[in-house]
Symmetry: C4
Subunit: 271 residues, 4 copies
Amino acid sequence: MALRDRVRDVVDGKRFQQVIIGVIAVNAIALGCETSPALVSSYGGLLTGLDDAAMVVFVAELAARFYAHRLRFFRDPWNCFDLVVVGIALLPAAGPLSVIRALRVLRALRLVAMVPSMRRVVTALVRSIPGLLSLSGLLVLLLYVGGVVAVNLFRAGGDPRFGDLGSTVLTLFQITTGDGWSDVMRDLMATQPLAWIFFLVYLLVGTFTMLNLFIAVVCSAMESESESGSGSGAKAGAVTPDDRLLDEIRALREEVRALRLERVGTATAGQ
Amino acid sequence: MALRDRVRDVVDGKRFQQVIIGVIAVNAIALGCETSPALVSSYGGLLTGLDDAAMVVFVAELAARFYAHRLRFFRDPWNCFDLVVVGIALLPAAGPLSVIRALRVLRALRLVAMVPSMRRVVTALVRSIPGLLSLSGLLVLLLYVGGVVAVNLFRAGGDPRFGDLGSTVLTLFQITTGDGWSDVMRDLMATQPLAWIFFLVYLLVGTFTMLNLFIAVVCSAMESESESGSGSGAKAGAVTPDDRLLDEIRALREEVRALRLERVGTATAGQ
Amino acid sequence: MALRDRVRDVVDGKRFQQVIIGVIAVNAIALGCETSPALVSSYGGLLTGLDDAAMVVFVAELAARFYAHRLRFFRDPWNCFDLVVVGIALLPAAGPLSVIRALRVLRALRLVAMVPSMRRVVTALVRSIPGLLSLSGLLVLLLYVGGVVAVNLFRAGGDPRFGDLGSTVLTLFQITTGDGWSDVMRDLMATQPLAWIFFLVYLLVGTFTMLNLFIAVVCSAMESESESGSGSGAKAGAVTPDDRLLDEIRALREEVRALRLERVGTATAGQ
Amino acid sequence: MALRDRVRDVVDGKRFQQVIIGVIAVNAIALGCETSPALVSSYGGLLTGLDDAAMVVFVAELAARFYAHRLRFFRDPWNCFDLVVVGIALLPAAGPLSVIRALRVLRALRLVAMVPSMRRVVTALVRSIPGLLSLSGLLVLLLYVGGVVAVNLFRAGGDPRFGDLGSTVLTLFQITTGDGWSDVMRDLMATQPLAWIFFLVYLLVGTFTMLNLFIAVVCSAMESESESGSGSGAKAGAVTPDDRLLDEIRALREEVRALRLERVGTATAGQ
């Protein structure tokens, strides 16, 4: 057995994955502890050490997997996800890019790829996205068109929530989620008493679209549910009455066959 | 080939539609840029020029379509939508009507009519509206009746949200969407301690109706979903067991036919 | 034809109902106008006159209906609803009972009983209530138990929203609807830092129950939907394949009958 | 009949359960009254007495049940629930544990175990939990990862809602429920103008996951609904067309049998 095969056996083995899950969990907890100034001042060295050790393990793991599977490694989207999430920590995080340091904890999301039941759930979620693109596109278009209309109508009022196109679109998104829309409307109505017309129209159109987006998610989720479930349920139920019919027809066929045999018997006897 | 036919070929062609989609997109972006004072002061002339050019293209396009399809042009509701949306920019927008200028960006909604997948989505949304009319009517009636009751009960408290019938109905609509209803109630309870009775009753009745309106949308959406899907799914599944039965019955028929032929054979032989 | 039969024909006739619908609508608009001090000062006499006239019409209508249907009148719950709603205006509305005057507009809800499509919708809504009683009871129990726990835990903090059992239950209802629960929690956490435990537990249990109450509504609505729809849809679809089978079996039966006739023929011939 | 059997008959009898339901209800109302200082100062002794009496009844009841069923008592999870809920009152409630006194009212939840329709509802709710574990786990993971990212990004701003990991996770939970997320975002954007990126991403991912969690609840609820309902509905509908087929096939079989009998008859006659 070649070295590559042996590495693949180890890398794809259950024990190896359990070790990695453990490292991810410990790493996630360490990164959580690093958010506490008290813990950092007491155990800062230990936490940094744990993080560095986890990084070494992850890089070694991905290298071993890449060695074992070669370019097929990139065919599995979960591997690409792992690569990106681990790679974040290797980016330079000085100066304006210090935000990237905050993203190191995204590594904890690797747990999703490792635990089969979560992996299945996320795969199902991701698969339902393409069916939502038309409706999401419609919603983005509504946000943009509504934003341009609203910024033209309400900018004069001086409300910072309608100060420029970006803020306005963000405010409309807030209104579409239904959070505090009445406060926004009442503030505007102080200077522009007819603002409620815009809000009513936008709320009805936007929420109706959102609602249908929601229904599209439900429908696609139920479809995939029923697809995976129909193998056992639907067929099992449908077979029962058909089986009664088949039995009846087979009995009839037996009868006809008996008739034919008798007939042949008498014909022979009658000759 | 007459000129009209050639125009129709061009107007209904794919390339022509792609050009129009491009013009709509560029126009929408230009109108978005016009909302930024900084961009207007630098490129104001260019943006106005782009808008005017887009208007010329749209008017020419609609004229060409009307020339090609004559009065059938008005049968397609999407064409009427295009006409209204483009026509907005031709209205006088001076003085009190300056609001109309803000509506020019509605032209961007023409994208919906142009992109088939979005068009299908919106057609489905519009088609589900008639089924909602009874429940919507009920909700409007509840808003009106609740508004008259509330304005009579709470106007004395001096809250501007219950100042007149219009404001009250708007406030009740806000309560029905569940946004900040508790703030409104607590403000009222300072002067009228029993106000919570009205809110509880209205919230239960109104939200229950809203919920059922929502369910009606879901039901009609799923119905149309299953209608469009039943052609392939349901029949394909139902045929399988029936085919087994049909096969069995056909085999039986063969048997009976064989019996009949044999019978005729023996009868001939026996004569 | 007796007078009672003639009255019944008139009262149950379409024209009579349309007149009553008109009176209800005019009365509802008049009561809406009465909420405007400006309109009352100008047309106060007219509005009061309209209301009185509508009352006379309603009392006469109900009397005629009662005369026509005698005690069967009370069997239709819609009639009882009409009686209560019209009767409100006959109650003494002086002094502390002036609230009752505000309820006169409930008469407008008679429109629901008059317009068949709305009547069907409301009947369906009311019919779905019994199936919700267990879950609603559970929710009320949760509100009560949660209220007693919360008032004991949080009353010491001095927040009026947790001042007594009534206020606390109202606040918990607000939390269950998800409106501003985080504000309530943060205010409490200023004095009782562990208050979030109660909120998290209550929110998860309460919202989960609400969610299932919602699902129960959806389920019962869809059930009744599919019951009313199955007569046409499901059977129409199921008959098609069966018909093919029936045709096949009938053809087979013809074949067997032909065989039998021939057999009798040969048997006769063979004798 | 042994004493144990007689006790079991009493304990499992209907009358005994009705008495216990009554005691639970009276006890719940007494505990509710104890929250009112006015009532406590007037009837404090009576209320405490009622509570003590109820405790005696409950302890005696559980002891009798345990005597009747022996260790099988612990097999029914509802009995364990009763034991815990009654046991709370026996814990020492002095000093820091005074919170436990507030939990005595949880005894009222025993009503759920006693009333069959509520018991069924809660059993169904509890049974639907395991199917939600993967998605709930995903949500908890998102809250943790989002919390670590957010506390690193926003702690510098000095907002107490992002002061430490615990507060941040609580704030993210608030955002996931959609309550006042825009206020939180706007407060942050005053110091960190790009905060909206985090909120948009988190809201889309978190709400999408919540939505699917919701759908999972709906799906599992409907599945169990259809399982319990399919016995009557689905089969009853499917049998009708099959019965027509069966009748037709049986008639055919009769015909074949007749043919066979005749054939035997002729064969005998022809011999």
